[in-house]
Symmetry: C2
Subunit: 335 residues, 2 copies
Amino acid sequence: MPTISDVARKAGLSVSTVSRVINKKPHVSQQKETLVKAAMKELGYKPMPAARQLRGTKAKNLAVTVPRITNPFFADLINVIERTLDSKGYTIILIQTFGRKDKELDALKLLTNQTIDGVILCSIENDAPVIQEYSKYGSIVLVNEYLGELDLPTIRANQYQGFKEATGFLIQRGYKNIAYATGHKNIIVTKKEGTNLNSNRFSGFQAALREAKMSFDPKMLFTHVQTRDAGLKLFNKLFKENKMPDAIISGSDEVAVGIMEGAKEVGVEVPKRLGVLGIDDQSLSRDLFIPLTTVRQPVEEMGAAAAKAMLQHLEDKDVVENKVFNLDLVVRESV
Amino acid sequence: MPTISDVARKAGLSVSTVSRVINKKPHVSQQKETLVKAAMKELGYKPMPAARQLRGTKAKNLAVTVPRITNPFFADLINVIERTLDSKGYTIILIQTFGRKDKELDALKLLTNQTIDGVILCSIENDAPVIQEYSKYGSIVLVNEYLGELDLPTIRANQYQGFKEATGFLIQRGYKNIAYATGHKNIIVTKKEGTNLNSNRFSGFQAALREAKMSFDPKMLFTHVQTRDAGLKLFNKLFKENKMPDAIISGSDEVAVGIMEGAKEVGVEVPKRLGVLGIDDQSLSRDLFIPLTTVRQPVEEMGAAAAKAMLQHLEDKDVVENKVFNLDLVVRESV
DNA sequence: CTTTTATTTTGAATCGTTTTCAAGAAAATA
DNA sequence: TATTTTCTTGAAAACGATTCAAAATAAAAG
């Protein structure tokens, strides 16, 4: 592959001049400019990113972390993000965390050696201080998940509102004993608004119960449920132990499918004997054997906003976008 | 961020010695080695990839191209690929081509300036010669799609066999007028085995018809159908023009869903009045309102094989793995 | 025409590594 | 002990770009 010196030689000029035309810097005559451009074209010259980076040029690489890409919600998110950032000349590096702190750290660490200019975190595995620490090495934006303590550009949905409304709807439909399943490891409930996705969802849920003067049996809280299979297992456990609630709020559409599948197998009617609420509104959710009632997350919008926030923050560290989208309930037939 | 010289200074040694311990080269005493390691730990030193690359070290980056990641088939593929390559210390760069030649070229071009060591192509947009050309700059492996003329490591499924069997099954079920929809732009039918996914599928389809002494109406061939929406549109067109076949082989599960959705809306019974065959066997396909009969692609296996083929080829350019998996029909209720 | 000023062009230093080469120290051989 | 061989170490030259300061050239002013 040709180097900048090859170009210079062919053009009969110095490397500095060539560099200047590459970078569109002033102080180069029309004449020489065309000379250089011709030489570059002829040799098929492309500057080597590694060499430029060494001199301090931005890498134009960004990392995106997701728990796992096979969850269509995250695939959709990545899709928009990749599209809009690619159009601005950025290359994106995909990192699946599988919920592991170390994987997320790997991504963050890429900031320190200038491999990437920024990271978009679609989930959060590490604690606030450690993430914040890395923000001095590059731009970090949060999308979907969020942490109140983090002073970073954040694009999120109003989980509190969404879950309050959805739960209210369940109550209105007459469900009395509502179970709550989530993919997260634990739920830290805080009074403060905007703390994190997880607790905001749960407190929205509780707020609705409270308003209806209903109480929640802590035994009906299930964590670590994040796949179709886990949903199926949860249903079977409930069924076997004879502790069936009359509705379940599941942490994702995938989980909801697992639950409905379990119900079908043993003949528990949905939504009559068991209401099942999904979260996400994946594209196939409306085509399921029981079209899913679910809380729609505005993925496209959130992804686009996240990409934009990243671009802005790369441009100017002082603008920390903070956007929150409303969630809406898509009523179909599972509730 | 600390540099190698900082480490050297702190350890009271030269950069060369530090470099030697970083790269586990011989000729450094136990004593100094521990000294260096201590200094590295204390400073939290990490070698800068850009600088190493400049000196010719491999980047340990790989690109993966897919038409679009929102298709679960490709998401699954990427998932396995990322997992296995990540475990070997490779970082993966995601590139969505959306069927565009230039996007694929962008990926290939990353090879020339050593940004990446190799590319895994999950689809093929450019012509064989242009792709082959880039193989001199790094490793290229094909997975899923393939091109007979390309002399590259290739992991694929036996589309001919799969489609012949699936079509045979349709015929056996009594379907007589079978339409064929594909996401591809055109179908070049060649007699030669192993030419490309597209034509192999189609010739498998035709072989089955031939054996049954049935003929195919070229008007029943539809290209450019690759989304749920396109499937729906296709159905509506067929319905409106009163040209409804009695079965449709669709290029993907997504398309099949669109078709079945259209059928449901106007009351065309599936599978009684219209058989619908999907391809892929996405995870939700069994949970649809009509569980889909589909040709299962062994995604996990193919992805893993592709990653392995890449690793081997990076190691030794002479080993060009060429693996073909069998496809099997998953019979559910749409046919 | 000089002299001054502004513009274009170049040479050389630099970024953080790896690697070659030579020098010095230690070990092995005679 | 003198000599050769083997190990350790460090100084300096790359790698391919950018950039600063200085030199060369052109334009403007006197």
